[in-house]
């Protein structure tokens, strides 16, 4: 029994190490082997998520860069394609629902894609509206899917202002307070929290994901 547990831990650690070490060649084979050996797919998922969290930590420490975050996200996507058929829907319930998009007028999406990939990896249900998204579309979608959070990405100073319009429309729809809004991107500054009425404003994608996780964890305690 103990040997079996060691074997399982070893194969799960290998999967986690493949994500952290960006070893795409061995990741899928390791997952398939583990499934064949009868490892619980939810355990595999937990180890994959733990690997993604470590990738985020390495980014914060300055050891990894955006390219590593992006590739780890791509590996996670490939891993989920293998794992998904083994996961039952009721057990895979999401942490929270979030509507994501780049602000009206903004066509940049590298930061948004990183946030999306980290959130999906962490078990969030992400509704990605793409780039150049009108404020009303954020609010309509949030109402439609009962989202807890709206994430707006804005690289340029000229497009950050769209967040204030989203907040106004949320108030009008009676959703202010129910739906939190986070604004993220290179030109985003702390003063925009007060000025635009958003709940958080951050420059960095990984920092933004940490805030979103803290909101959801806070709400559940």
């Amino acid at each position: 029994m103990r040997d079996r547990r060691c074997l399982l831990l070893s194969s799960l650690s290998k999967i986690r190490d493949c994500i952290v070490g960006l070893d795409g060649d061995n990741l899928i084979a390791s997952i398939k082997d583990a499934l064949k050996d009868g490892v619980n797919p939810y355990e595999i998922l937990n180890f994959l998520r733990s690997g993604m969290e470590e990738v985020g930590r390495l980014y914060e420490k300055g050891e990894y860069f955006i390219s590593e975050l992006v590739y780890a996200g791509e590996l996670m996507k490939s891993a989920m394609e293998v794992l998904q058929p083994h996961l039952k829907v009721d057990q895979a319930s999401s942490k929270a629902s979030i509507v994501l998009g780049s602000a009206l007028g903004d066509i940049h999406d590298i930061g948004k894609e990183i946030v999306k990939s980290l959130l999906v990896s962490a078990g969030f249900e992400v509704h990605d509206l793409g780039v150049d998204v009108p404020p009303k579309a954020f609010v309509d979608k949030a109402g439609e899917v009962n989202a807890e959070i709206i994430g707006i990405s804005a690289l340029l100073s000229t497009t950050t202002h769209a967040a204030s319009e989203v907040v106004k429309l949320l108030k009008k729809a009676g959703l202010k307070g129910k739906v939190k809004v986070i604004l993220g991107g290179a030109a985003v500054r702390d003063w925009m929290v007060k000025e635009f009425g958003v709940d958080a404003a951050v420059e960095d994608a990984v920092e933004g994901v940490k805030i979103i996780k803290s909101w959801v964890e806070g709400a559940k305690t």
């Binding site: 860069f65 955006i66 590593e68 590739y71 791509e74 590298i110 150049d132 340029l156």
Partner: protein
């Protein structure tokens, strides 16, 4: 001392008569702001922008700013331009209209105008699903008309100004992901390196020929623009950059140096992780050094003996939100901390956006002209 001598002295790390001034790019989202500045100054509106700023019709504007440099650019060949339309709101302004508000550039990249009609986004990457690069036909660098305007303008300006020349906006990393798609290129860099090596070799072939032609046309400064960094650090990791980009950039720079040109490197964001590499391969000028991302005084302290700093005035905070006094203070701080011994060229640290204040933009230039005289007190 004319502008050309002023520029050369600064780049050679000698003190000229005053800190030289550079123009900025007026492409896509900055183009509407350009028209606003021209109206404010009572100058005629212009029909063309440009990645490095100064087309011929902007000459009066460049003179009003006191810009000490002029810029020329390679263009698509004459045959392509005959079939294409020109729209300055597009990242590559020359393109064949393939759908409403959608242009296909010479490389096959399609861009569409956004909802607010201020910039374009890529909607089609021609190499996205390609497995064999030999199936893709690269543009012909020798096609007639590509360097005509660059040659005409460089010859016109080079007695009075240092002339920068740029290929066509972007270099290895950006150009490769425009062709392949961002996620796909990153994925390839890890899992399909053969494809990336071949793609970058083909780009090298094209850019190397373009470098030779631009310098033959009369360009003094080869400008290599490649946004490899974001606000808080590198986009492409230094390891990947050193593997795929650095050796090819070195080949280009060696050629430019052999032909007597200076080399300017432009990347947005915080690129400190690769600055020693840039110096090692021969970059002379680093642009735009956004002060929100890298402290210009720190760059001067650490690399000022080898590098000339270009840009450095905040376009994310001071130009849109600052007062005139704050603009002046920032310019004066930069002169105090970065101008000693030459090696500083001042300008806004990127394209100015429509929310910038016209008075603030002009104050950058006027403050340098007023207080940027050497010896710095």
């Amino acid at each position: 001392m004319n502008s050309r001598e002023r520029g050369i002295r600064a780049i050679e790390h000698e003190e000229p008569d005053r800190v030289p001034l550079e123009g900025v790019a007026w492409a896509e989202w900055s183009f509407p702001f350009l028209q606003k500045v021209l109206s404010y100054l009572g100058l005629p509106q212009v029909s063309r922008g440009g990645m490095l700023g100064a087309g011929e019709e902007m000459e009066a504007f460049s003179r009003r700013l006191g810009a000490d440099f002029r810029a020329v650019s390679m263009e698509p060949p004459e045959e392509f331009r005959r079939r294409a339309v020109y729209d300055p709101l597009f990242h590559q302004p020359w393109g064949i209209q393939v759908a409403p508000e959608t242009l296909e550039d010479e490389w096959g990249v399609r861009r569409q105008l956004n909802a607010t009609k201020t910039q374009s986004r890529i909607v089609y990457h021609p190499l996205k699903d390609l497995e064999d690069l030999d199936e893709y036909e690269f543009p012909d660098i020798d096609a007639p008309g590509r360097f005509d305007s660059a040659e005409k303008l460089a010859q016109k300006w080079r007695d009075e100004y240092l002339v920068s020349g740029i290929w066509n906006g972007d270099s290895f990393f950006c150009h490769a992901w425009y062709l392949r798609g961002f996620q796909k290129l990153i994925r390839d860099m890890y899992s399909n390196p053969g494809f990336v090596e071949k793609l970058f070799d083909r780009l090298l072939e094209f850019f190397l020929a373009a470098t030779k032609r631009l310098i033959e046309a009369g360009v003094d400064i080869l400008a290599i623009a490649d946004d490899v960094a974001a606000q808080t650090g590198m986009i492409i990791s230094p390891k990947l950059w050193r593997r795929y980009v650095k050796p090819r950039m070195k080949t280009i720079i060696d050629e430019a140096k052999r032909r007597g040109a200076y080399v300017l490197y432009h990347t947005d964001g915080d690129c400190r992780a690769i600055i020693p590499d840039l110096i090692e391969i021969g970059v002379d000028i680093l642009n735009p050094i956004q002060p929100e991302c890298m402290d210009p005084a720190e760059i001067k302290r650490d690399y000022g003996e080898e590098l000339t700093l270009s840009g450095t005035i905040s376009i994310q905070d001071t130009l849109p939100y600052g007062s005139l006094k704050e603009v002046e203070e920032e310019v004066l701080t930069r002169i105090e901390t970065c101008a000693h011994g030459g090696g500083l060229i001042l300008s806004p640290s990127n394209q100015a956006l429509l929310d910038s204040k016209v008075e603030n933009f002009l104050a950058v230039y006027d403050t340098v002209k007023k207080y940027g005289k050497y010896p710095i007190r």
